[in-house]
Symmetry: C2
Subunit: 430 residues, 2 copies
């Protein structure tokens, strides 16, 4: 039995009862002969409460101090979890990100891990302890300041430690039973996926699936660390995310699958807005100057579409999508660059939604795209933008159309489970 | 203008408003040209809330993890305080005890400081920052584990940093205006003391005065760091605790004072209990074996009195006082050693109080002791035990008699202020 890294999110350790329940699960893994490293998030609403406090003392909390503040959250949960484990008769030691050797760059609030040197964790494990590590945090290489890793930081901590410690698996415990073929809140017949390749999971994450964040999957893929996403409530087998399927197929089955499109799931996202730059002179360098202005404002964009230029005017429209939260900043950046770029006007639309179909072999199966569009058409959903990759088709529609569109596509590709009972979502009604 | 260390307790930073108020006071000191190091405690009830959580997951929280948990409290307050200062347009950086170089032994929950290496604090100050340091915490020299310093830990952190940084003064901000000649809640006419010598302050602290703890004063005395105890609410001059008086006296006055008893104040303490060991054989080694049993149980005792042996029986009684919280443990320890020691019975009394008069030149002024006892007698207070030192007389009485006794002694030694108005106690009604 090898080393297992387990990660528990804030909802799993929301209160003392949750902490005690998680402690039992951890001890179970230890009893099964594993060396166990646990990465834990802050309890329930702790982080939000700390952010509230920060906003009360300062309208614009500074990065370094904000990170110092937020890291108090995991400090509390990890110490309590270690106590709960010791109370079950097993030895446990908690470690901050810094103590665990999570070395980051100096970009506060969204630092990137640049090295992991888990010497103290290894020592603690070798001494027979269960090691509890604070998720979401590290220490900057140059200034030795405390940093936080931003969204999905605890998952990334877990995968990074799993890689550095050469773990068998990184188990991500959450409040759902795994990754589903669609959001079960929208599609009642969504099925739990038993196994999904890193690449497909990356596309699902990029397309709005919230269970695992892109960043964490990317890290796991680079170091080839299998992730097992599962519920901390139900204890059922969840979804394995790895480079090779769990169960070896026969040669024939394997070949068959490579030739056919294998649809992993349908993702949706209503957190984006669409910006259209109207009346852009259709000449080289125009698009570049628009996206340079956006990039200089440090805004990540998602889909980009340029319409065919109207021959009579020599003008074209360029549309792109981006997180709604960045909308104001993007409009401001473009307005400032208006004279230099020379466009007519800007349109901003935050009532859009994105539906994505993810699966291997899509490009080589033209029928997939056709079926996708037919399903949307049958559901009466109008398509505004289209973007495709090797293993994904995404469309932008009205936000209101998203639930119908997701259900229609899910059904059209035969993803619906036979009965509603197969779907288990959540464990405590959260 | 030199370096100033300021320490703010939990009641001064109980909420966002408190933090903003304290931030202004800190910035004021910086504007006056000082380099400023701030030591801060956890906000208001944070520590109690964390202890509650710990008790919910484990009946006996372990030392290492308990310290990890509690230190989250100062992490929150110090980060918020740094943010609030930056919001006023000044640069501030917060540091954990470990980052500030507070090196301790490995005794969790009540670690002792063994070294202070404030290299990062010095750097931060030299870069023009205000440095905010978490009170009450450090890092163990051998294991590099997070430790807490126990009661009065934040005051001790402040004094230790002041010593290591060669500060001009260590300002202890609290919710009272300084050290008083008696507890103003008991004696309405108690006066604020402008200056008091380290030795007298040590005796007051040992005798029940709560404003400064013995440990912190001891540290300040060893390194000769002047302490200024003052209110974070009123901003008035408080009490200076140092080796030499603030204001130089003329030669004549000075000599006069050396010859006369200078009474600093009256302290009282109702947190102790009295144990009487009845019927101890009056032979060498008996007292030693009693106090060895107590010491082995790691109980600190205060006063010890042995009655004259009754010649007829060859038996004597030995009484001592100790914190009520240690009472059970002491009785158990003595019962276990009963056969070995050979005493008749034990008596336990937790309805006692201690009144102490502290001041220089007491031993050489027999009149002081006489006046003290006369004052108690006039107030109808019966004395149960007496203990004296070079600069202190303490008596044990019934707990109920303490308020009257304190007022009587305070008045008899001319400590009463002329009017009630001179006494300022507290700032927010706490």
């Amino acid at each position: 039995m090898g080393l297992v890294v387990q990660k528990y999110g804030g909802s799993s350790v929301a209160d003392a009862e949750g902490i005690k329940r998680v402690a039992k699960r951890i001890v179970e893994a230890k009893k099964n002969g594993h060396q166990v490293v646990v990465v834990v998030s802050a309890m329930g609403d702790t982080t939000d409460e700390l952010i509230d406090l920060a906003e009360q003392v300062s309208p614009m909390p500074a990065g370094r101090e904000f990170d110092m503040l937020l890291t108090a959250g995991e400090r509390i949960s990890m110490a309590l979890l270690a106590m709960a484990i010791k109370n079950l008769g097993h030895e446990a030691q908690s470690f901050t990100g810094s103590q665990a050797g999570v070395i980051t760059d100096s970009v506060h609030n969204k630092a990137r891990i640049i090295d992991v040197t888990p010497g103290r964790i290894r020592q603690s494990l070798d001494a027979g302890n269960i090691a509890i590590v604070a998720g979401f945090q590290g220490v900057s290489q140059d200034k030795k300041d405390i940093t936080t890793l931003g969204r999905g930081g605890s998952d990334t901590t877990a995968v990074a430690l799993a890689a550095a410690l050469d773990a068998e698996v990184c188990e991500i415990y959450t409040d759902v039973d795994g990754v589903f073929t669609a959001d079960p809140r929208v599609v009642k017949k969504a099925k739990k996926i038993d196994w999904i390749a890193f690449e497909d999971m990356l596309e699902l994450a990029a397309s709005g699936s919230k269970v695992l964040l892109h960043r964490c999957v990317e890290y796991a893929r680079r170091y080839d660390i299998p992730i097992h996403v599962r519920s901390s409530f139900s204890g059922l087998q969840g979804t394995w995310v790895s480079s090779t399927p769990l169960v070896k197929k026969t040669q024939a089955q394997g070949e068959q699958q490579v030739e056919q499109a294998i649809i992993s799931g349908v993702a949706h996202d209503t957190s984006e807005a669409k910006v259209t730059v109207v009346g852009v002179p259709d000449k080289p360098g125009e698009a570049a100057s628009i996206f340079r202005a956006i990039a200089d404002a440090e805004i990540n964009i998602d889909m980009v579409v340029q319409n065919v230029s109207a021959a009579s005017t020599g003008l074209t429209d360029i549309s792109f999508t981006l997180p709604k939260t960045e909308g104001r900043k993007a409009i401001d950046a473009l307005e400032r660059a208006r004279t230099a770029i020379g466009f007519d006007s800007l349109r901003y639309d935050d009532q859009i939604g994105k539906i994505s179909l993810v699966g291997a072999g899509m490009k080589t199966n033209p029928g997939v795209t056709a079926s996708f569009f037919e399903a949307l058409s049958d559901a009466g959903v109008n398509i505004e933008l289209i973007s495709t990759s090797e293993i994904r088709i995404s469309v932008v529609t009205r936000a209101d159309d998203v639930p119908d569109a997701v259900r229609a596509v899910h059904s059209a590709f035969g993803l619906d489970s036979d009965s509603d009972e197969a779907v288990v979502y959540g464990g405590t009604g959260r």
